[in-house]
Subunit: 493 residues, 4 copies
């Protein structure tokens, strides 16, 4: 049995714990590894190691820090397919999706390689006569990242490459459901030549999270997960004097206008709703069909959903969708489909009955379409995090925007249309931080902020882009003036 | 008796309340006005008015919003001396200090006039083939500012001009100790042509603050005050889903190196310690004399402190320092001087005995120097907020930086030296966000962030500068793609 | 007779010259003032004055320089209508157009008020261990502006407010056809409190231009005019060691797609072609009607052109269009209309016959539409600078873009359409620096660059926006390191 | 004999020419390769290939373009030592200097890897009601680089990585004295996967340069060389409608204040004057010893100069300095030393007599110090480009700055001092674009502009940093508005 180690001060250490959590291959329903559930002592060891490494790393010039990331990028490319397979195996998503997961993550490494540019402060001479001012960005110290299961590579890579590039040291707490990818990411970072203690991995569960939230040496916490936990992380972390960015859940709407190109709209909806089995915070889980879009788009959409073959994607290249993460989660998704049905929606495609012949114990739910959700349906508020697409029918753009804007969340929103005006109105008025125009999953690339609004994000500074840099640094403003040293000095006038 | 009104939806309204707070002329110890202590209903009225005005103001182009601020700047200049007199009268600081207070505030109006430039987002075409991405900055909605007594003009002006320039509407909660300046600021803003409801003033005390912190329509809160209150504001505000920036207290150190120019160092220390009677978060309240600086600087410093004439500065141009804000505060300052004495410091200049002949009831404490504070003296941790300068003697720069870096605060820090190396080391290593090189009070100008660190600030985005803009806006990232509408379209290839 | 003076070193001076140029009221064909044609001596006096004022102005902090511009903005607003009338009187454009001319110019003053923000350089500590780097922007010295007749207020204001804000001193050479507006602009700048010599006006003709181009004290030249002259200015100025930005002529295309909203397209075309009597480098002088747009748009367009009443707009509020600048220019425009006709175009609206009853000697040409220009017509290459709209008919977007991209110019280009895809393709592919989507005259506002491409601009850094700031400053990069002074120093470790 | 090929459209082609230029190993005085002197036909072939490749490369997303540069960086690292040896062999500089040459160049590749960040434009919604504006940066087309012999790796790498990252295609014209490094750089770029035709190398001499300057397909030219040639390149290139950046020669001053740390000042002067045998535009060729610095610094400096062992550095690791580039150049340097002597300077160290035993035919000049140059010495104006340090003695900082500011050049300038005030004054007042504080060769790193002033640079936009990006792109400003399509549309209100 593969028992996950932690990485403390440059060494892989075995943790002895009274309890451990299983790591599944969800496509087969088999346990493939085990995570000992460490306690606060492990966190303390990591924090001490990270703190000890901080002064040296902070003094390492940004160019040199970036050079390690350049090597890291090269190693990640060299191991690209192998890592994708690890992702697919422990998470269940298809190899194509695993590649996308890793590719997005590598782009954050690429972005972080621009550290010298990103860390630039500002300067102005003569703010008053003979007085100059400048701003520099300095690192915070020990930062920590607490990550979810759904993007085993991308989400950790949203955090530590940039944190490190900015001169911080780091503690990663992987999801105990998908620790194997994180292990590989850490091994390669070590191989890239990072000094010992600059990066640490603590495997474990809730006790480890709790210890990170209160540890006095931890200066900042990055989190991605569900909204209730994000809120808890933010409140607890900030109360303990830490800077926190906590991305939470979502309920993202995709509007389809009557003038939208049908094929592309359907392709987008399918990708948004069923990609990664719907387990992503940018999933497009609710379609709003406007006017006659109902007639043109819905039938094709249902057909497309039904045509997706579910399977053990880590070994079956023909599978269009893999399992969800656990049996419990599968059950929860199926229950929520039932709720939709009970609330009056038509189950136009029903994933509850799906069976995979060569993987009978896998945690599968098939693509599901709940057509005709009522405007007050609970599923318009509840994040399902599974391959379930709700469809609402509305008469016009204004009412669709209004309904979407009533959501407590504000992550993504998309519209399909050929009209420049409809697109501009939607972009201007929608209450969501990431907007797609004919792009169903408008997750921004690494150099733009992953800017969730409302209850999709707690904090001021998002992951990715310049906000990410701002999160991992503090600005220092220096105002300076010099007096003539006095009489007789050779250079004085 | 002048009974302060509030400004709601473009109207000055009288508030009936069971209790009221007195506004003093602290130089005379006389009550000059009264603030009815309003309740949550007033806050709700303001919030409703601000919310109602938001859609129209948000849609007003940034250029047009800025034009109102251009007019506001002109009005503030025209009324400059009259406002300075109001400040001096209700706060006690000298007219020169009052002018500085207002000048700094006006510079924030000037900065906010650059709204079109400041609000620029970013754009990149072809992030993937045929896909473009841009970021825009949109306003939050209703923002609120809760301000202290010590800078009646500057601190409110740190907040609302920029918030308004960004497209938000605003509720100002002035200090109940100095509401008259805020009233005049509001009248002139109204005169500049701001639409009704865009800016509101709620006068009152703690009940009003509490109501702002939990009001569902308030999206963001800016606060300046003491550290315990700042922490409370931040925790409560964020728990209620608001963005919060809360600047707190400080204990700022000024190092004097043996090679420093004596005259200028003394001038700087006097200004930093006794300016505004020490009632400012950037006060330089602890001097660290390094090596022989003790011999060259301390005697002159004590002499300079003793030579400052305390008086009723609002009417007495020859007074070098005015009163503190209240009798209670005077008593607290005097008590803390006693604490220093009891802990072993020499009271080299003693302000406890000061009397002002023509203003016998004013709240005066004279310039005080506590020489030879021990490295563990409680006064190195406690913010006095009065005209008291503690002096510590140390042997070298390293130990001085080390001691300063042990502070829980991290607002300002300064060094006096002629050495480029000493200055660079200090700047690089000191744990404070605002650093002065031969500048005793390194409060940055409007276009740089007022970047307190540690317990001097709660939140991620500071007041002033680009961080101020980031605080008052949220970024929206749009990813767009367009499909060919289909066969037969005249422009398709 | 009003004989124009020049403004040298803070004094209005009369220039004696052997020749002078008349200033007309073109609506009446009457001479209203006279410009003595000064020689190089005047330029030298201005350059000496500007150079003498440079050290003091350069050392004036940006905040203080901006404060003069804040006062200037207030004065321009106070005199807004009076200046608009001067513009209309000496240029001929309608009062509405004159107001727009001035408004755009004032926006550059507003932009320049942001000098402290705009002048920020960059800074990075520890580019190598213990080595820091920063960039500051410093002014160039004496800058000069040479301006055309067509925007008597806007074009000068594109230049000197920003140049001055950046710390340069300035010499303005107004158009000898419209010197009265420039005179008023200078008087108000003087009234705003600018130190003597910082801003100077040299009135005259070609001799003055030639002297500016070679004067050794002039460090930079901004020019707006025709392409041949712009090219000459650029070549001559750069050969004499000056930084030059020279905006030239244009031939701007407006595409009308079959799906465009007809009313708005016609309104846009009329404004673009006949606004300011077509005398602007952003005039939309060629419409490309694509496919059936021909049938929907052209008839309405011709009717709209015919309905515009030409008149003495400076005194006649009902006039929709004023005269062109001179009798010679009127004759040239009429000749070019004849060329179009000779090349086979249909003169669908003919402005050659226009007569204004109450101003029979004015220099009038009426709105003219040349329908059906051949793709190789000389008028597709020749800038007419009069109220003449050529119309070309094409089959699809691709061929229209291709034709437009063959132009030697590259100033503006616009498309009218409701299709997001057509707009994106046009924006991406068109060879022009200023693009309008349903905006017929896409002249950017002050905070964006006026970014002509190809032969519409000579130089690297355009007027307006951050490029304007870059033009008027030079960057200085400082790399610094400090050594420990040696043994026994108290602060060394 | 190694006969250099050119790289056209992805193929290495042999060029037949009537004449060819020899490539020496200057340490041995032996010919190691030959460059056929191609004519305009080769340039045309390259330009056609580059133009053909442009549309595809331009449409390649910046992220994908950057990925090729990431691979290029990895290949350059892998071949680091081998390339350094090529540099040392054909140029003569020491292996350590060759490594620095290449390292600086690789840092430009690293910088260019940040293309997605660097290419960001700006965006602002609602510049007027319902009107949005954005700026994007688009590539120019075919760009060319013409490079000198002195940095065989760094200077080419200043140009093409950034040009390519911005979406341009490129033609490199290497120095015919050091073509072997360029060849290797090209081979590795090809190996990194760049599409054919995107990058081309044309080997040859003046005819090739002349052809590039006038070729209609070439849109921009980057040049580094001497001032007279830079001026010619700029004038000719701009007259032919090209954007040009042309870096020229220099005469850089290094001030040594009386308070400077002696050891470090001497180390800096030696590095600045004799590094790369003085063949660099940032060479510190004139020391100004201020006051008593004369006594403390000069004797040590002369001793240090004399202690440098000259040798065949490509194979002799103990050599501290290599040869100059050609026998002719050696003779010119020796002649100029004689000029200094004739003008009255003391030849305190004389490199004219140097002989290298194991390389008797190499082109050597030893480290030379000309002490006591008169303020009007011709060598204060003439760029020597050899290992010759002139020393001037002055009384104070003011007169030293004044003298330095009289130079026609304005590349670098440095000061050695421990005084913060002296450093600030120097930085503020010196007329040079690259300033060193205790840094003798203040050549900025890749992410800052290489900002020569005055006759050290022709053009507005320098190499390196954001100015480099601005040089290789043109901004396009789009203003957009959308109309409601009309009655009955489902989404209109």
């Amino acid at each position: 049995m593969n028992i996950c180690k932690s990485f403390i001060g440059g060494e892989w250490v075995s943790v002895t714990a009274t309890e451990s959590a299983p790591v599944f291959n969800p496509a087969l329903g088999e346990i493939i590894a085990e995570v000992p559930l460490a306690d606060a002592a492990l966190v303390d060891a990591a924090a001490q190691a990270a703190q000890a490494a901080f002064p040296g790393w902070r003094e390492t010039p940004a160019v040199d820090r970036a050079n390690i990331l350049f090597r890291y990028k090269a190693l990640l490319e060299a191991e690209f397919e192998a890592i994708a397979l690890i992702i697919s195996t422990e998470h269940g998503k298809t190899l194509g999706e695993a590649r996308g997961d890793l590719r997005r993550g590598i782009q954050m490494v690429e972005y972080a390689c621009g550290a010298p540019t990103l860390l630039m402060g500002e300067s102005l001479e003569n703010i008053a006569r003979g007085i100059d001012c400048d701003v520099i960005r300095q690192p915070l110290g020990v930062c920590a990242g607490i990550v979810p299961f759904n993007f085993p590579a991308m989400v950790p890579l949203w955090m530590f490459p940039l944190a490190l590039a900015c001169g911080n040291t780091f503690i990663l707490k992987p999801s105990e459901k998908v620790p194997l990818t994180a292990t590989r990411l850490a091994e390669l970072l070590d191989a890239a030549g990072l000094p010992k203690g600059v990066f640490n991995v603590v495997n474990g569960g809730r006790a480890v999270v709790d210890a990170l939230l209160v540890h006095p040496l931890v200066r900042a916490i990055s989190f991605v997960g569900s909204t209730p936990v994000a809120r808890h992380i933010f409140d607890t972390g900030t109360r303990h004097g830490k800077r926190v960015q906590a991305a939470g859940g979502a309920k993202n709407f995709i509007l389809v206008m009557p003038d939208a190109t049908v094929t592309e709209s359907v392709r987008g909806l399918v990708e948004a709703a069923f990609g990664c089995a719907g387990e992503r915070c940018m999933a497009g889980s609710t379609a709003i069909a406007i006017g006659k879009a109902k007639d043109s788009v819905i039938p094709e959409l249902v057909a497309a959903a039904k045509s997706i073959r579910v399977g053990a994607a880590f070994r079956d290249a023909s599978a269009g969708m893999g399992p969800v993460i656990t049996a419990q989660h599968r059950d929860r998704v199926e229950t929520l489909i039932g709720v939709g049905e009970a609330e009056g929606a038509r189950v136009a495609a029903d994933g509850r009955s799906v069976r995979v012949a060569d993987a009978p114990n896998g945690f599968y739910v098939g693509p599901t379409v709940l057509d005709g959700l009522a405007p007050d349906a609970s599923l318009l508020r509840e994040e399902i995090f599974g391959p379930v697409l709700g469809v609402v029918h509305m008469d016009d753009l204004d009412s669709a925007i209004e309904m979407a804007n009533r959501s407590a969340y504000g992550n993504g929103a998309a519209i399909f249309t050929n009209s420049g005006r409809a697109a501009r109105e939607f972009k201007h008025r929608i209450n969501a931080g990431m907007v797609g125009i004919n792009v169903a999953v408008p997750a921004p690339m690494a150099f733009f902020p992953f800017s969730g609004w409302n209850e999709s994000f707690f904090g001021d500074l998002h992951l990715q882009g310049r906000e990410g840099v701002a999160f991992y640094t503090q600005q220092k403003v220096t105002t300076s003036r010099w007096f003539a040293p006095g009489e007789g000095d050779v250079w004085a006038k």
